[in-house]
Symmetry: C2
Subunit: 245 residues, 2 copies
Amino acid sequence: MSDALGSDQSPPALLIRKLASTAQLSDRDRGAIGMLPFAVLTFPGRTSIVHEGDAPKQCCLILDGWAYRCRTLANGQRQIFAFYVPGDMPDIESLHLHVMDQGLVAIAQTTVAFVAHKDMRALIQSNTNVAMALWRDTLIDATRCRERVISLGRRQAVGRMAHLFCEMYVRLRTVALADDLRYLLPLTQAELADALGLSSVHANRSLQELRKMGLVTLHRRELIIQDWSGLATTAEFDPSYLHLI
Amino acid sequence: MSDALGSDQSPPALLIRKLASTAQLSDRDRGAIGMLPFAVLTFPGRTSIVHEGDAPKQCCLILDGWAYRCRTLANGQRQIFAFYVPGDMPDIESLHLHVMDQGLVAIAQTTVAFVAHKDMRALIQSNTNVAMALWRDTLIDATRCRERVISLGRRQAVGRMAHLFCEMYVRLRTVALADDLRYLLPLTQAELADALGLSSVHANRSLQELRKMGLVTLHRRELIIQDWSGLATTAEFDPSYLHLI
DNA sequence: CGAGGTTTTGACTCCACTCAATAGACGTGG
DNA sequence: CCACGTCTATTGAGTGGAGTCAAAACCTCG
């Protein structure tokens, strides 16, 4: 994985840039975030960052790599709810909801910065504006979740996949991890299937369909969008739900 | 529709009870909420409370009736994301995200109390604890959305429907609108279908299947759960995601 | 009683699933 | 550098869940 969000790679700097991409931050806000103590840890691919059922005492910020949130059902089927990329804080909600009802898993090798809940709480107590920005961020996460509901409920396989490809492109571009209509997509087809509510066989066939339509290629984890407007059309993709400034 | 949440039916009292059902509120918090100016309005069934694309200047609190959030796709298909019942504030997010990317529709006749954004903002600025409770509430809403993702992605029709019936029972019970394993479900089968990502024909057949299994009956808008544990089992329902205290 | 919405049924189609086998990629160690 | 095991991707054949279309039965209410 390459650098995200430009030059300063310190966790606070990344978080500041991320929040500033969807909300206004004052200098005082930036200063307060800059004081947050982070602990950086690296997880190998396919390992659990937070387990289903855990009650974490810290929040995490993805610095490098990808992670996903998922749950496994009784029959062994898995559903992936969301993907998280550098700049995202997948589990701010653990500040308010004490038991995680889903796990957080690193996809490729993933570097994560942890902040203790007590430090986050101190920050948001003393700094309403930052609290609002974080709240807003969780609301955007919910918006993406709703978009997934539409996909699963009302789009068929090819459209769902196209939609995911569009969303990840736009999101990765805001953290400088995609440009020129291409990005690293560190997922297996089985993981894609688990996110899209498909079997892996059908995920494979849908991907082939997108290739055949001349919209994308995916080879060795590199996704290349050959026809953005075609892809966006088959996905019925409208990026406004991402609420980027 | 009958009374929700006990005796005092004023909007602030309802909101206080609702927030207190998932978070701790001090007397100061309760006092501050009590001062909120609400404007009460009643909507006939099947009318829009907030339109897709609106930028509301107020939040709403359901006092009586049901509402749902939905979006219509280009081909005319509809997806319902969530149902809201008395005590719920479906669009607190409009405080942070200024354009609604989905509409809010009254199902049966529904009474709603509106609070201006500026009053809500004043409340949460001066009262961190209330802000946290509201934030928490939006996170629980997101949790329900994720549960819907699992349903749509990994459960089949009968299980999805069973899951919705379980969820609504538990939620309505916390506002005293369900007990004795029965409640008013003011939805047509077409609306049920739009929530579950099904065609209305298949929604009908799934409902018949639940009847045939002896789990529920639904007649004249009254849902009767005949076998709770059977229903919860076919739904794989685990209420912890609702984060009720 | 009639009109309009809602629920139910039937027949047919098709999208997506399962099972199973093959092919390709990748990494490790001999 | 090749052999091997292990993932991952691909293909085929058969099945089944859910969709579509259309008509009939049923409320409900003016």
